[in-house]
Symmetry: C2
Subunit: 499 residues, 2 copies
């Protein structure tokens, strides 16, 4: 192998090595299977550091030109045909290590599915299109353009549009949370709340406690922060605080994330006793609680229990909610209620993230809440969603096979179903999509291996008719899969054929 190094060139030596070896591979001078000299030997021959050769071999590997195995050295692979005219940028090598790991892109896929009109979607948590206040939005837009004008389209403070923060403070105060305008931070959807809190509190390797199952969007937010995520199981009374107590003792988490009311996906409501126990544990171990209260206003059988924030005497709970479910998600407006010292840090993080949330949406929502439309919209929503929940529960009951179990939730957007362990979820989803219905595979809601085979079905978005048809299709597909499913362990995981 004939390599000369130009020490006067500004080009780093390892890049010269990569370029030269790449040329020899692409020109055929080094054939497939050719063993490159061991790193140490080449380094000595060229009079360079071994780490320089190591970097060069690593880049050649990233470019797909060589492969290396312990004990067998580094060998040339079949060159890609036709050889690229331009040397590509080895992007994967440039990403952060934590980012280069694979993610489950299920959330993006399901958002994309939601654009398809031929599929009944039980998969994502959208409000009913029939309830959207299109006329009011149109009227408010006209009025605001006329009365307010330019500020609608210009910047607003990072903390949020002050009048919107005001009406939110009053709104949550009426729900037992004593908040001043200055305690309210406007978020670009509640997803941003998770992200900002992670940025402010979580260093790589820090432990975050989530519920098991949990909101699927919480997982990427904590993963990007390189948190170690530990799950605490949820039963019908919410998070198992007895398990939490032991997790606190053994793992010293930096944050506890919970949705105590009408939890997404399980629908569980944390009992009052457990709420108090959770607050007590968090205080004893000095851990902040991030309470995500997205669904508590969507209650269908009596009032919701008080939020953790309303019970919190220490100001330890970071509270967040959003207009995305109770109204609509398209403006990306959520909010957090947090102590002033935390708010300042979240604002600095938000400045770096997106400067501020969109002004237009904030003006519209402010008017919507202030003029009382929000309260009446909630009333209509509860009536309609109660009907849809009952329709879905009835449809699931009607054809109830032993393969599917669920509890009727008291609020929220979802029915959480358990199916037989032998059914493969990916195959089931593919089959269901072919039949024109999709659901959320339960595994998306777990940080680790799920303790069973679950599906999440959304009942708020599809019409009653679509719920009937969709559940029918889904039960058929599950029925067929159940017949094919063998007990676990007999023949390994079963893959249902896509028919």
């Amino acid at each position: 192998m004939d390599i000369t190094i130009d020490r006067k060139s500004g080009e780093p030596i390892y890049r010269q090595l990569v370029r030269r070896i790449q040329e020899m591979i692409l020109s055929g001078a080094l054939p497939e299977g050719f063993r490159l000299p061991p790193e140490r030997r080449l380094a000595e021959a060229l009079g360079v550091n071994r780490s320089t050769v190591l970097s060069a071999y690593r880049e050649l590997k990233a470019l797909g030109l060589v492969d290396s195995h312990v004990g067998r050295g580094t060998a040339v692979l079949r060159p890609p045909a036709p050889p690229p005219a331009v040397v590509g940028v080895p992007w994967r090598q440039l990403f952060r290590e934590s980012v280069a790991r694979s993610h489950d892109p299920i959330l993006a896929d399901l958002l994309a599915f939601s654009e398809r009109k031929d599929i009944i979607s039980f998969s994502i948590g959208l409000p009913a299109p029939e309830l959207l206040p299109l006329e009011t939005i149109g009227r408010f837009t006209t009025e605001l353009l006329d009365e307010v004008g330019p500020p609608l389209l210009l910047h607003c403070p990072t903390e949020g549009h002050t009048p919107l923060r005001e009406v939110i403070a009053s709104w949550v105060t009426a729900r037992g949370i004593h908040a001043r305008t200055s305690d309210v931070l406007i978020l670009s959807g509640s997803q941003q709340g998770l992200d900002l809190v992670a940025r402010v509190f979580i260093d790589p390797g820090d432990v975050v406690v989530v519920e098991e199952p949990t909101y699927l969007g919480a997982l990427p937010a904590f993963r990007v922060a390189q948190a170690r995520i530990i799950g605490v199981p949820v039963d019908r009374d919410g998070m198992r605080t007895d398990v939490l107590a032991s997790v606190l003792e053994h793992h010293r988490p930096k944050l506890i994330y919970t949705q105590p009311t009408y939890q997404n996906p399980s629908g569980a409501v944390m009992s009052l006793e457990r709420r108090r126990h959770l607050l007590e544990l968090a205080s004893r171990w000095n851990v902040p609680i991030l309470e995500d209260d997205t669904y508590s206003e969507l209650n269908y059988d009596g009032d919701a229990l008080p939020s953790l924030k309303a019970l919190d005497e220490e100001d330890r709970v970071l509270y967040q909610s959003t207009f995305s479910k109770v109204l609509f998600p398209g403006f990306r407006v959520g909010y957090a209620i947090v102590p002033p010292v935390v708010l300042r840090q979240l604002v600095l993080a938000k400045q770096g993230a997106d400067l501020h949330s969109n002004s237009f949406g904030q003006y519209l929502l402010e008017r919507f809440v202030r003029e009382g439309h929000f309260a009446s919209h909630l009333e209509r929503s509860r009536t309609e969603y109660r009907r849809r929940r009952d329709a879905m529960a009835a449809a699931l009951e009607r054809d109830r096979s032993s393969a599917l179990e669920f509890e009727r939730p008291l609020g929220g957007f979802y029915i959480w179903c358990r199916i037989s362990d032998g059914i493969d979820q990916s195959a089931l989803l593919a089959n269901a999509a072919q039949r024109g219905v999709v659901f959320l595979p339960g595994r998306a809601c777990f940080a680790a291996e799920p303790p069973g085979n679950f599906l999440r079905l959304n009942f708020s978005h599809p019409s009653e008719e679509a719920i009937g048809v969709g559940v029918q299709r889904l039960l058929e597909v599950i029925g067929e899969a159940s017949v094919l499913a063998r007990p676990r362990g007999a023949n390994g995981p079963t893959t249902s054929p896509v028919v």
Copy 2:
């Protein structure tokens, strides 16, 4: 000091220590000035680890109850009066270390200033309110609510609303950047582009090259990622690529951030020669370039040079721009053009950050561009902003004192002025605000100590009349400060009195 530890309690020992000592301080049992036992001695006495005592003392310090100095041990401070009924949450202790450092909150302050009607603001980069297409927005809203309906208010894909990505791909292709729809990622403002790129590429301690001066919002985005920021000076031909060459050799950066055209804040245009040199250097050292092309369409004296992305034959440039300056910022819609493998990673990061950008704004902007309003809006904007730039330059020339120097920019939103080094910027800003005019202190645009005393003046937002009045006021304040300013080194930094 009488402390007993309950080893059977679930409460960690360090928390027990904190609680017990806190009680003794608040009750007065340990008076002000009392020296706590050295950590090692207390640890031995209690039979616990020294690190446990260390944690307890650290928390007591964070609570403001004790203070410690090397060589003098840990002493009790005067207890806060009245003693708090509830032990507060020591938030600062819970933040990430990198976050707990102080930030310059200048950006948030200036956004807040922009809401005040009694002050002429040259401080932030807003479009002219007179140019905002309020009527068209009103008409499009009505049409879209009628024709599109619910999707306006519901979710859209993380990558963005597909038709908007389409029109952006065509738009940039006409500007020499060959982009397919699938290469376009919609951002929640260009600020998000900086943030997502940092999340995907930057590990703590990685070096990021920025221009000196640079866009002030880039600094928090890279700081949150814990990057080491290195500045490369800008002269009238843009980034000094000769300096860059040496920075590349010595620091091996992970990313180069640049605004080659009508740079914010300096207005500089990178010469064609330097553009090619920059691309060559980045290729040789295998570093990605993040090109921020926010202002190139706001050209007032002839065409802009081709973007780096248009000259890039390796697909190494990550390109981003935004509608915030050329149209309006209130919807928070920007976009990136990046290679597919990078786009996938950015999308995963965006999912965790805010799920997707607001749908309503994306539908509106798509129609705005597709129906040709964007092109005509740009024409009108160029005419108007050229006039305002000339008005500001003329006003600055008219009363030109030796204390102020500037170059007339060929495009963009700002005039970058240098004033005498002896003037204290904070005092100047306070005096100017009292007189009813504000500017951006130049130091906000530097990662490190600025090489001179600069101000950034925005001319796009204020009317011609306001520009005249504001510049007059500003020059008066600068004139007074110049009289007071002494040569550097004579009496240390001078603080002008607020009169």
